[in-house]
Amino acid sequence: MQTTASPKRTSSGSGRFLREYGWAYLFILAPVLLFLVFTLYPVASAFVMSFQQYQVMGSTWIGLDNYKHMIGDDVFWKSIRNTVIFTIATVPVNILITFVLAYLIFQMKNKAQTFFKATLYLPAVASGVTISVVWLAIFDPTDSGLLNRFLGLLGIDPVIWLGQSGTALFSLILMNWLGSHGAGIILYLASMGGVPKSLYEAADIDHASGWTKFARITWPLLKPTTLYLLVTGIITSFQVFISVYLMTQGGPNFATTTIAYLIYQTAFQFYEFGLASAQSFVLALLIVIVSVLQFKAFSSDVEY
C-alpha cells in the first residue's frame, strides 16, 4: 500500500508536498474556517463592542464607560452573587449525588446496570424546556402544586416557591440537584471499570477495610473524573440561563438574576449590546480564573 509517510525532497518539492498533504490541509480547513467565522470573529468583535456605545449604524467609541457602568450597577453585583451561590450550592452536591449513584450502580449485575444507566441518562436527552415545564408544575404556588400538596400532607402551608425572594433561588437549586446526572454517572462508571480488579484484591490481602479501599484506592483513582466534572460543572453553572429564563425571569426583585440572564436582558431587552459585551467578558474572565485555580489546586495529586 502506498502511504504518505516518507515525502521525498526533490526539485519539485512544493508540488509534491501539496500532492501528498494537500487533502489533509483541506480537511483541516473546514473546522478552522468554522471556528474563525463563528467563534473567533464574534468574540473579537464583542471585545471591540464592549468599548462602544453600540448602534446598528455607526457605534461610538466610549472607552471604559461600559465597564464603569457595570461596576456601579447593583444588579450586576447581585447577579454575580446569585451565580456564585448557585454554583457553590449545586456543583459539589451534584458531584456527590452522581458519585453515589454511580458507585451503587457499579456494584450491580450487568442487566441491572444497563437499566439504571439508561434510566438515569434519559433526562439528559430531554430538553431543558421540557424539564422546566415539569418543574413549573411541581413548584406551582397554589395548593394543587405537587410539592405544596406533598407538604400539605405533612401539615405545612403552601409556599410560593418561585414567587418570593426567599425561596426562588433555592427552588432553582433544588431543581438542579434533582436534574440530570446521567452523563456524569456514565463517566464515573467508565473510570470505576478502569480501576484494575487486582488493586482491590491486593488491598484485601493488605487488610484494607471496605472504607479504606474506598478512601485510599477508589476515590484517589477517580480524581481525574471528579476534577473534570467539577470544572465542567462550574463552567455550566456559571452560565445557568434556561431555567432562570423559563421559570423566574430573574425575579422576584432580581433574586434569581444570574450573570448569563443579566447579559441576555441587557442585550435583548434593553438593546445595550456594548454593555452586554462587557458583562460577557467579565463572565468569561471569571470562568477562566476559576478553572485555572481548580487545576492548580487539584492536579498536583491527581494520577492520570
Partner: protein, 369 residues
C-alpha cells in the same frame, strides 16, 4: 507451622450460558513448612485459580483448604496470613513506593516506628532505598517487581504466593531475579507457592514441582525425579527443552523395534515390557540422550545405534540441534557442536537406552521398568 494443604479441592466456573467449566478438578497436595513449591503447566491449566483459592480471592466449589493447621475455607484473604505478588504487580499507582510498602501494615494499625523499620528492612533487602519517594510509574518493570515483592515481605506472612512474577521482565532480568528469589527464600525461611508456565523457571526454583494440565495435577515431585521419572507423556513432554521425543515402537523377539532399526534391551527391562509383546508402545527419549556416533563420550561401544537422515541443523553455539524423522515423527537430537552434521547427511546415531522411557499408548502412562 505454615503448611498448605488441599483436600480434594474443585473449582468450577459458570460461563455466560450457565454451563460450568472445571478449572481445577479435585486437587490433593501438601506443601510443607518453608518449602518452595512451583505450580507449572500450560496456560489455562488452573494454576492461577489454585493460587487464588489459597489466597481466598476465589472460593472453591468443594473440598477443604488448610493453612497451618486451620481449615481456611471460609476465611477472608486478610485473615489467612498470606501475601501475594500479582502477575501485573497490582501496585497502587497513586501512592509512593513507601506508601505501597506500608499500606498493609498501616491497615493493621502497627505503630509507626515498627512500620518505618519494616519498610527500611525491605528496602534494604531489595536494594530500593532511593526509590521510596517515587510513584510506580516512575519505575522500570524490574523495579516494580521488587516493590511488589517488598510489599509481600514487610508483612511477614506465613505463606508467600507468587503468580508468574517474572513473566513481564526481559530474559536477562528474569534470570537475575530468579537467583534473587532463591536467595530470598533461604533468607526468609518462608513457605512459597509459585506459579509459572515456564518449565525452566519451575526446575530452577522449585524444591518440589506440581505439574498441572487441564485442571488436573499430573505429578508432584522434585526436579530431578520429574526429569528422570515423568509419570506420563504430558509431564515427559512438558519438562525439558527441547521436549522429549516420542517414537512409535513395538517389542519383537526381545528387541525394541522402531522404523528403520531396533535396539536390544537387558532381560530385566524386557520382563517389565513383556505384557506389551506384539503390541504398540511409545519409546520416549530426550534430545540430549541421542548422540552422533563420532561424539558420544562413554557410549563408544554402545550397541544401540541407528542410521538416520539429518534434515535440519540448528547451531546454538554450545550445542547443535539436529532434526530427522523416525516412523513419521520428527525427532530432535541435542548434540555436541563437534558432531559432524549437515542437512542431507546420513549417519549412525547412538541412542542412550539406559535413559529411555516407555509409555502405554492408550493411557499415556509411563511403564515402570
Amino acid at each position: 507451622m505454615a503448611r498448605v494443604e488441599f483436600r480434594n479441592v474443585r473449582k468450577e466456573f459458570q460461563d455466560h450460558s450457565k454451563e460450568s467449566f472445571t478449572a481445577v478438578a479435585g486437587s490433593d497436595f501438601v506443601i510443607n513448612d518453608k518449602e518452595f513449591v512451583v505450580f507449572v503447566g500450560p496456560s489455562g491449566c488452573g494454576k492461577t485459580t489454585s493460587l487464588r483459592m489459597i489466597a481466598g480471592l476465589e472460593h472453591q466449589t468443594s473440598g477443604d483448604i488448610l493453612i497451618g493447621d486451620r481449615v481456611v475455607n471460609n476465611l477472608h484473604p486478610k485473615d489467612r496470613d498470606i501475601a501475594m505478588v500479582f502477575q501485573d504487580y497490582a501496585l497502587y499507582p497513586h501512592m509512593t513506593i513507601r506508601d505501597n510498602l506500608s499500606f498493609g501494615l498501616k491497615n493493621l494499625k502497627k505503630p509507626k516506628a515498627y512500620i518505618d523499620q519494616k519498610v527500611k528492612e525491605a528496602a534494604a533487602i531489595l536494594d530500593m532505598e532511593p526509590m521510596l519517594g517515587r510513584k510506580p510509574r516512575e519505575l522500570s518493570g524490574g523495579q516494580r517487581q521488587r516493590v511488589a515483592l517488598g510489599r509481600a515481605i514487610v508483612r511477614d506472612p506465613q505463606v508467600f504466593l507468587f503468580d508468574e512474577p517474572l513473566s513481564n521482565l526481559d530474559a536477562k532480568l528474569r534470570v537475575q531475579m530468579r537467583v534473587e528469589l532463591s536467595e530470598l527464600h533461604k533468607r526468609l525461611g518462608a513457605t512459597i507457592v509459585y506459579v509459572t508456565h515456564d518449565q525452566v523457571e519451575a526446575m530452577t526454583l522449585g524444591e518440589r514441582i506440581v505439574v498441572m494440565n487441564r485442571g488436573i495435577i499430573q505429578q508432584i515431585a522434585n526436579p530431578t525425579e520429574l526429569y528422570a521419572k515423568p509419570r506420563n507423556m504430558f509431564v515427559a513432554g512438558f519438562i525439558g527443552s527441547p521436549p522429549m521425543n516420542f517414537i512409535d515402537a513395538s517389542i519383537e523377539g526381545g528387541r525394541v523395534v522402531v522404523e528403520g532399526g531396533s535396539f536390544e534391551l537387558p532381560a530385566a527391562k524386557l520382563d517389565a515390557l513383556s505384557p506389551y509383546a506384539g503390541r504398540k508402545l511409545i519409546l520416549g527419549i530426550r534430545p540430549e540422550d541421542i548422540h552422533g556416533e563420532d561424539y558420544a563420550p562413554g557410549l563408544e561401544t554402545s550397541p544401540h545405534r541407528m542410521n538416520t537422515h539429518i534434515q535440519v541443523v540448528e547451531h546454538l553455539g554450545s550445542e547443535n540441534l539436529l532434526y530427522f524423522h523416525i516412523g513419521g515423527r520428527l525427532v530432535t537430537a541435542k548434540v555436541h557442536p563437534e558432531t559432524k552434521a549437515y542437512p542431507g547427511l546420513e549417519k549412525p546415531f547412538i541412542f542412550d537406552m539406559r535413559k529411555a522411557h516407555f509409555f502405554d499408548p492408550d493411557s499415556e502412562q509411563r511403564i515402570e521398568i
